[in-house]
Every structure is written in structure tokens, then in C-alpha cells.
Amino acid sequence: MSFVKQAPVLLVIIPLLSALLVNILGLVNRRYCLPVAILGILGSFAASVVTLIRVIENGAISYRLGGWPPPFGIEYVIDHLNGLVLVTVSFVSLLAVIFSKESVKQEVPEKIPQFYTLFILLVTGLLGMTVTGDAFNLYVLLEISALTGYALIAMGDNRALVASFNYVILGTIGASFYLLGVGHLYIMTGSLNMADLLTILPGLYSLNAVFIALLLILVGIWIKMAFFPLHGWLPNAYTYAPSAAGCLVAPLVTKVSVYIMIRIMLSVFSPLYVYSIIGLSETIVWMSVIAIISGSILALAQTDFKKMLTYLIVAEVGYMVGGAWLASAAGLTGAILHIVNDALMTLCLFLFAGIVIYKKGGHQLQDLAGLYKKMPVTMAAFTVGALSMIGVPPTAGFFSKWYLILGAIDAGKYHFMAALLVSSLINAILFFKVIEISYFEPKVDHHGGETEKVIIDEAPLTMLVPLIIVALSLIVIGLYSGDIITNIIQHSVPAGLL
Amino acid sequence: MDIVVIVLTVIALLFFFATTVGLLRFPDFYSRMHAAGKGDTLSSLVILLALVLYNFHEINLANLLVAMKILLIAVFIFMASPTATHAIIDAGYESGIKPWAKNPEEESP
């Protein structure tokens, strides 16, 4: 067995096995849980890095599960696009699992083994969804990540159960629509393999059933990624989830859904079909404009810091969906780059929120008051995240927004460009408000009222280090985004686009 | 042979019909369960017997095995179905449903 050759499957199997191991060891002693979890995700991270390097060197990899040839067996396909997403997913989950140590002890002390098992299973599900080349296999993994997501969110505080129930209902509708769409493709073509579908479908492009299959799949995935009119479940679910779970769920689930949308658009249907034949582009870009604007405005209206972040996610999803449907190479590049960047930015902000909750026990905006003096390092990292969210040049967020705007100009969709700019402006207002509260406002007597002199009071190292790493990586990715685009993303943008 | 099968099936269907009528028309919970429990068990047994015979238009080992399996099902139904009826009636009794006595009671299964 060679690690490199088997890496595509190992990156899913290692976390699965370690999830089982965590659960068994948890029966013996719950101290073993965290190290095994970290090891598992580390192994998966290593495997995905190895895979990405192999893809960059040799082009796309196909892995046959069970040794059966593709349309009959299940196939894993790794190309530049999902190689990048894989590395992002495993990197983010690695940081999130390290971060979770203290926060889990504080928030769900009794259920540590269950928490970590579900946590790693969620990572497994997300990685599996990303790596697979089979439409039905994707559904099974979608359900794994959904079920773990429901449970992780339901482990949160009081209102989490209701939020989680709504998520179950809507999530099931989403997954079922996806399954139904795949069923429509199956009845029309007889195949489930994405590459196979890509070759069969062109002959059927004129049929309504194929169009409706695409529509069903899109609606299903949009529910999962909380695209604007379908976002109802997200804010509450993510706000009331345990913060360690939020750090994993919030950055990844929506991004992986966006990835799946792009994958379905490019690798099951063709760019020709989605951009030219069906003529949905215009409508969807308008929808994403509405998503961006309303997400930003709703975020502005919140007094709860974490809820504000969740509405920002809704707006960011609008960026990516819109970018993917601009029908221009730059827009698609921006959308793909934004998957990576947004995962890291969201992680950064949610890690910060997690630290605030750990220290202060609340996630209202007032809880942030006076934090600059107490936690300078934390706040510095938060500032980087916020700047990236606004889109200030050296940080990663700037570059993906730049490409999205370029794409909007290329495609002549100026309303999308306007939406991006307005949203950046609102983000700027929003984050300066937050920074103002945490920098200038004196510690109001919400919490005991003592006005003790400022002591540096940082979070524990296991929480701080991931935050610093993610903040640094935002800057590093910003600096190297040119390389990422030419070496990786360029190859995943289909040649026919402008 | 076929005639026997048909006759048995018809008998079973008659019993099923009677059961259904009983379930719908009897006045209270207990007598309804009475009809359901007895009629259901008997008609299932008869129809299974019909299946066993139908299976035997050609006698060989495989058919014999199938017949054995069907008979086993019959045995289990014979054990399980009355017990289930008993359990339901008992539960009804415990939750205080009064038997029917000329003036109709409100029943809740």
C-alpha cells in the first residue's frame, strides 16, 4: 500500500476510522478523545495535501473504489477544483478541532466522546462530498454531514433545539430535492457517475426533464447553503450551536455546498448548458444581488455578534453563487477563490466569537466592550479577519472580491458589481462599529460592574494559536493568491469562458 | 387441488369480510377487538393453508421447503396475533375503558 497512491481514499477513511476510535476510547477514558481526533484530522490533512500536490503535478486523478471501473462502481475524482477545497476543508477542521479543546470542556462537558465522534464524522462527510465523482454517493455523504450537523447544533444552548428542528425539516427538504434531481437524471440517462452523465446529457439538453433535474438539484443545494430566500434555518442554528461546533459548521457546510453547485454546473451539466442554453444566469445573478444586499442589511440590524456573523454568511453565499453564475472566467475564478477565503475568514470570526463566549459567556455586541485592552492578540487577529471581510488589499478577501468585480464587469452585470461594493461598505460600517465598541467603550457594568484596571487576559493557548494561524493564513493567501490562481484555479475554469 | 385452494381462499376472504364488518359495526372497543383478533387470525391461517396447497402442484424438495416456511409463519401468527389482541385489550382495560352496556360509550382505541 502506498500512501500517495491511496491518498484519495485515505483522506476520507482516516477520519472515519478515527471517529470510531474516538468513540471506543471515549468509553475508556475521555481524555484520549481529543488527541485521536486531532491525529485523525491531521492524517486527513496530510492525505489531502499529498493529493493536491499530485494533482498539480500530474493532472486529475481517478480512484476506483472496490476496483470496479467507473460507471459501474463508485469513483473518486480529484482535479484542481476539489483538490483545493479538500485542503481547505481539512485545514479549517484541523484548526477548529484544536480550538475546540477548552470550549468543549466548558459547553458540553458530559458528552465529549459523542461530540468529537460527530465532529469528525462531519469532517468525513464534507470531505467525502468534495472528493466523490458519483452523484448518489454525494447524497449519502450529504446526509452524514447533515445528521451530524443537526446533532452538533442541537447540543447547544436552550434555543438550539428549536433551531436544530427547523434545520432538520429544511435540510431534509434540501437533501430530498437533491436526491430527486439525481433521480430525474437517472431516469433520463440511466447513469449516476458524473463523468458519464457529462457525456450522455448533451443529447438530452432540449428536454424539460433535464432542466427540471438541474432546477431540483440547485434548489436542494441552495437550501443547504442558505441562499437568500431559502436561508431561514441558518441564523438561529449557527448562533445557538456550541461554539466549537459553530467553528466547524459555519465555515465549511455552506462553502462545500457552493463547491457542489459549481461541480454540478461544470462536471454534470456543461458550461454551455448552464450559461447559454437555459438562460437562468440573469435571474440567479439578480437573486444573489438581493441575497448580498439583504444579508448585509440584516447583519447591520443585529445586536447579537454571532447572529450578525451568520447574516454575513448569507451575504457571502450570495457572492459565491453570483460569481459562479456570472458566466465569465474571472467571476468563476473569484467564486472559487472566495470559497477558500471565505472559509478562512468565517473561521477567523467564529473562532473569535468562540473565544469571547469562552471568556465572557455571551455573544452580544456589548460583551465585546473593552476587549482590545484585555486581549490584544485576539483582537489583532480579529481585525485581520474583519479587514479581509471588508476586502482591504493585503488580505485574502480583497483578491476574491477583485476577481468577482472583474467578472461582473466582463459579463456586463453592473448590478452585481454595485451589490458587491455596497456590501463591502456595509461590512466596513459593521466592523468599525464592532471595533469601536471593543476599543473605545469602557467596560460597562454588565458583568459585575467592577472597573478593575486592565489586565492582559488572553484565552488559553489552544484557542489562541488556531486564531493566529488563521489570521496569518489570510494574509499569506492574500499575498500568494496570484500563485494559487495560476497553478490551481486556472485549471478548473473551463476553457470556453471569456 | 385447485378447487380446494379456491374454496379455502374464498372462505378466508369471507372471514376477512366478517372481521372488517365486525370491526366497523360492533358497539364498543372490546367487541371490536374480539372480532378483529379472532377473525384475523383464522382467516390468515386459512389463506396460508391455501398457499401451501397451491405451492404443491409439483412436489419436490424446494416446494416442500417453501411449504414448511409458510407453515412456520402460520404457527407464529397463531402465537403472536392473539397475544397482540390480548395486549391491546389489556391496555384498553387498564386505561379505563368501560365495556358497552346498551347506552353507547365513547371509545378510544
Binding site: E143, L161, F165, S176 | -
Partner: protein, 124 residues
């Protein structure tokens, strides 16, 4: 008549789907929503299994005499096994979702002592 038969299964699955969707969105009671969810999922299973049915075909288990060597297998003689496999998975997934949904219902009932959505909303 022929046209009815050839699409009846599909019409019914659509109808079931609509019933399930309506129940999930409109019902006030949480357990009713969960039942709607189950109906919704079974509707999809009906759809898939219908794609696998074939006229004059039997169950997808190849007739095998004990020890005898079979002749070539006639494809038209067996129903399409692939949708069956997919739907086995879907059934198992749906029972998993059902378990989790009911568990959340119980948790909600424990905390708010109600299963009615509006009553819970009032308490929030």
C-alpha cells in the same frame, strides 16, 4: 387507459410529495411535521423504485439451480436492481433522520412542554 397506467406511479409520487411538503411547512405540531417528512422521503423512494420496474420481469435474484450451470442471463427477465440498491440506502437514511428528528422533538417537549410550534415560539 394505457397512458394512465404508464404514468400513474409518477403522478402518485408527485401527489405524495406535495402532501409531505405541505405537512412539513404548514403543520403546527412538530410530530406531524416529522410524519410529513417521512411521507416526503417515501415519495422519492416510490419514484426511484418505479424507474426500476419492468413489465414481465421478476425479482432481481438470478434463478440458480443447486450446482447447475446457468445459461446466459436474460436481462429483460429481471427488474433493474440499481434503484433498489439506492433506495435501500435512502430508507436507512430516512429512518436515521426520523430518529434524530424525534429525539429533537422529545428534547423540545422536555424543555417547553409543548409540541405546538406557535406555543414554543411564544416561550422563546
Amino acid at each position: 387507459m394505457q397512458s394512465i397506467i404508464s404514468s400513474y406511479n409518477y403522478w402518485i409520487y408527485i401527489l405524495l410529495m406535495m402532501i409531505g411538503l405541505y405537512a412539513m411547512l404548514a403543520k403546527n405540531n412538530l410530530v406531524k411535521k416529522v410524519i410529513g417528512m417521512s411521507i416526503f422521503q417515501t415519495a422519492i423512494i416510490v419514484f426511484y423504485v418505479s424507474t426500476g420496474a419492468k413489465e414481465h420481469a421478476t425479482i432481481p435474484i438470478i434463478a440458480h439451480g443447486h450446482g447447475a450451470v446457468e445459461a446466459a442471463v436474460d436481462v429483460a427477465h429481471y427488474a433493474n436492481p440499481l434503484p433498489h440498491v439506492l433506495m435501500l440506502t435512502a430508507i436507512v437514511v430516512s429512518v436515521g433522520t426520523l430518529g434524530v428528528a424525534l429525539a429533537i422533538c422529545l428534547g423540545i417537549h422536555r424543555r417547553y412542554n409543548s409540541l405546538e410550534e406557535d406555543e414554543i415560539q411564544e416561550q422563546l
